[in-house]
């Protein structure tokens, strides 16, 4: 019921008089704070009609329309309209500008922290109706469990000694702790008192989120003290890939004083930015390989080749990270590195992975995927997988390229053994030129025609070196596209962006459409009738088509380290 009351209270409130943040209504000392300033800018941009069309086309929605639950929903809407005098849609519209904030406070001797919720209703007419309902509900549903008392001059209602609230002309204030409400009461009334909004760390932290539709703040030091922990994540991780991609974020997040986030809408783009304040380079020598010095950070974006589905760009000093692995990765995983090194050394006799290959590697790795049209082959596989590519920057292009080429040539015969074991066709190594660049590629011994070929026909491994980049792709045409993209003498860099992951939903949707029968088959294997599996797959693909792009990136700046998510819809 407490949840219900809170929800009912949340059901209405646009901002009042230009007071953008509710933080000034909260006492200082919070562990965490989050607020939604207004959902209206988001609601104005989201393509509700498109989504509605997609949802209304689904079997689940049609079933819901014919179910008793739908009738109950309709009845509920009518009751709401009768009680409030608005229809459901109007109510939702008027609720969009409700301003809501919640803060979490440590409580001495208590394992569970206290919370304080403040909801502000600029729409006083709506709130006065809802307020009546809140009080009526309290009287009805919690009869015998309520207590009323005066705290700091206000009538506070206590429910079961677990939940306390009071209301005002434009406010709903609630807490699970009477003391918190007592402290907050004069501040809410605008009287003197230590306010959260005046705390220096809060002020500097949230400064960058001004104008955002929602924001949050975590006093990480206080939170760690409350949770009795020195750090949030362990100092060492258990795999190299995890370390390569995330360990700088884990370390910074784990040891930072505060953490701040904001959500904003710009046109048709939703932006979420999480910021870890302070110069990220403070992590020192062990983390040097993550290139956290703002002067060194920055990567070249993945090229938008034809059929681009998505990619990840990682800007790191892999050699340095490999040397620091004992400080970054747990002891039990260390023997795996020795095995890996031996494996590579065996493949390329006379060469050493650490001594010969690592120094040749540059600072950027790019992995990307693109749709294939299979026009370069006589046949098409039944499952049409994307082509993938790995692009490694080389600090010594000639030597690095030779080493990696040797590896490629050593791997193909091993692959042929595997293919023979599995009844597949052997691959022949061949060479060709594309726009003056040498390519080595593996092609099947016999070119097979047909449009339902086995999955192995998705792959035609190809390698090439363009300038200071080594390309290894699973299709010749992707290799060629990348050669064209990287032939540009100097590609622009995005300053500060060390890890960038992005994807292209339109192409992904097309790729899924090509394989829809197989999605359906997997649904059938999972116990669904074919028609239902097809509807679900179509719904997912259609939903995907309403999004035009998404990107997740890290940004190294002198003042902070940011994790940025951008989501754009059509």
């Amino acid at each position: 019921m407490y949840t219900f009351l809170s929800l009912l209270a949340l059901v209405a409130a646009p901002p009042s008089n230009g007071d953008a943040s509710l933080a000034a209504r909260f006492p200082a000392g919070a562990i965490a704070y989050a607020e939604v300033v207004s959902l209206k800018p988001l609601a104005d941009q989201v393509p509700v009609a498109d989504w509605k069309k997609v949802v209304e086309g689904t079997k689940q929605y049609k079933d819901f329309r014919n179910s008793p639950q739908y009738q109950q929903f309709l009845a509920g809407k009518q009751i709401l309209a009768a009680v409030l005098g608005y229809d459901f849609e109007t109510l939702v519209q008027r609720m969009l500008s409700v301003k809501t904030a919640v803060a979490v406070y440590p409580r001495e001797g208590q394992p569970i922290p206290g919370f304080l919720v403040v909801v502000r209703y600029p729409d006083r007419e709506l709130w006065s109706k809802l307020r009546t309902q809140v009080e009526a509900w309290t009287a009805l549903a919690a009869a015998g469990k309520t207590e009323r008392e005066t705290i700091a001059g206000r009538q506070v209602v206590g429910l079961d000694k677990k939940f306390y609230y009071f209301t005002e002309a434009d406010l709903f204030v609630a807490s699970n702790d009477k003391k918190i409400l007592e402290t907050a009461s004069p501040i809410i009334a605008g009287k003197a008192g230590a306010k959260l909004s005046e705390e220096s760390s809060f002020k500097s932290g949230v400064a960058g989120t001004k104008g955002n539709i929602a924001r949050f703040y975590l006093d990480s030091e206080k939170a760690r003290a409350f949770a009795k922990r020195d750090r949030w994540a362990p100092a060492k991780v258990d795999n190299f890939l995890g370390s390569l991609l995330l360990q700088d974020i884990l370390e910074l997040g784990s040891t930072s004083k505060t953490l701040v986030g904001g959500i904003d809408v710009e046109g048709k783009t939703l932006k979420l930015v999480v910021s870890i304040p302070g110069n990220p380079n403070r992590l020192g020598e062990t983390y040097k390989g993550f290139l956290l010095d703002p002067k060194l950070a920055g990567s070249t974006p993945a090229p938008r080749v034809k059929g681009y589905l998505g990619g990840i760009v990682v800007h790191r000093d892999v050699r340095e990270l490999y040397h620091q692995r004992e400080k970054l990765i747990i002891e039990s995983v260390q023997p795996e590195f020795d095995k890996f090194e031996s494996g590579i050394n065996n493949l390329v006799p006379g060469k050493n992975f650490v001594e010969d290959l690592l120094p040749m590697l540059g600072k950027q790795l790019t992995i990307l995927a693109a749709r294939q049209d299979f026009n370069d082959r006589p046949g098409k596989p039944a499952i049409r997988l994307p082509a993938f590519a790995l692009v490694a920057e080389l600090s010594q292009p000639k030597e690095g390229s030779d080493f990696l080429q040797m590896l490629f040539q050593a791997i193909v015969p091993i692959m042929n053994f595997q293919l023979k074991e599995n009844g597949g066709q052997p691959q022949l190594l061949a060479m060709d030129k594309h726009n003056g660049v040498d390519m080595t590629f593996a092609r099947p011994l016999m070119q097979t025609a047909g449009d339902k070929l086995p999955i192995v026909h998705n792959f035609q491994f190809c390698s090439a070196t363009v300038g200071e980049r080594y390309i290894l792709a699973t299709s010749r045409s992707l290799c060629e596209s990348l050669i064209d993209a990287y032939r540009v003498p100097s590609l622009p860099k995005s300053a500060g962006r060390n890890v960038v992951f992005d994807w292209n939903p339109t192409e992904i949707a097309e790729s899924l459409y090509e394989n829809i029968d197989l999605l359906v088959a997997n649904g059938v294997k999972d116990g669904k009738p074919a028609a239902q599996a097809k509807e679900e797959a179509t719904f997912f693909i259609e939903a995907l088509k309403t999004i035009s792009g998404a990107e997740l990136a890290t940004q190294v700046r002198p003042e902070d380290f940011q994790i940025r998510l951008e989501w754009t819809w059509k």
């Binding site: 596989p381 039944a382 499952i383 074991e421 599995n422 009844g423 339902k452 086995p454 999955i455 192995v456 029968d517 197989l518 359906v520 088959a521 997997n522 059938v524 294997k525 999972d526 116990g527 669904k528 009738p529 074919a530 028609a531």
Partner: protein, 437 residues
Amino acid sequence: MTLNAWAGARNWTPTDAAHLLRRAGFGADAQEIRDAHQAGLAATIERLLSDAPETSEFVETEAILQKLAFASENINDLKSWWLFRMRRSANPLVEKMTLLWHNHFATSNAKVRSVRNMSAQNDLFRKYALGDFHELLHGVAHDTAMLVWLDVNDNRKRAANENFAREIMELFSLGVGNYTEHDIKEAARAFTGWHVHEGKFWFDSRQHDPSNKTIFGNTGAFDGAAVVKLCLDHPACPRFVAFKLLRTFVCDRPTKEQIELVAETLRGEKFNVGRTLRQLFASELFFGPLSRAAIIKSPIDFVIGSMKSLDATPKTGEMTRVLALLGQDLFEPPTVKGWDGGRLWISAASLLHRTQYSVGLITGEHYGELPKLSTISAELGNDSERALAKLAETHLATPLGAEARKAFTNHWKKSEGDERCRGALHLILTSPEYQLG
């Protein structure tokens, strides 16, 4: 000597109908049993032997699952495809016979390594499921998956490989004791040059030994096809096939007399399996007391049977995993002899897995969706005796023991709704009696 017609046909009961549907297919739900009972024995046998049209949904779904298997080259996807056919086909007897031939001509993808070849072999078994065993054996002798499985490319003029010749006699047509080592050596020479090239049967005349061979006392310049014919003409062949039919449809340990009876029918029907089964299914041998509950359910019978009797929508992906645990991994039989079956289906471990599967099935959590149990419960009513009789008719080949009946009655009286039905089914599906088909 012929199969005697079943005297009880005039008093055809739902229990008899359930017995026929269980043996000639993988079981049936209560409605199918009612329909079969209503139609009568003769009409039900004819329906089982006829080529019933499949629904458009079946055709579409089956094609999609096969496409996935071909595309992924993953044998588990082909297993899912076949399990879907077993569960949903309008021709369950064809699927049962396909399974019988899969075990008889046991070939494993572990060596063949080709979903398409395994699928083609499966289609061959299906094509001749109720047809002429002569044609089937000749077809198998040219089947790519079988030829790869039995190393035919190693069978050369100067170094004959006996694998294929041995299995043709020992496992496919005659059985041990009906040929000599000399027959095998000679037959191996006849099969020299039967090779696989570019995924297809290929007769390599340069590697064939055209000289005279003496097999079963006959001498001539026999080739592989001639050896297959000699095997089919051998008096042991109908007995060997009859033994397999009896183990699948009548009992785990058929007697010599029973084998002779069915072999004679098979001979009389010129090795036509469908016509032989028509006589068998209408016989005293099939419906007599010695045939009832005389087969230990194979994992396939156990899993598909429970799905069918409960009208469950299976998660075929999960079922392939369960079947491997229970010891019947489709397309991957353990040896050239296939699954021994019978008493060997049951061990402490497999019983535990059967119980775990049953629990997972009736909770509707792991293996597929079940119809609403509370509805079944309401249909069965409050009378525990009547409810047990109804459930036994669908699910059991032999009545529950006294202890289990008592437990059933207590449970039925003390519970209601979903829980009543779930508990009752749990008791039935995990009972020793349920393991018999």
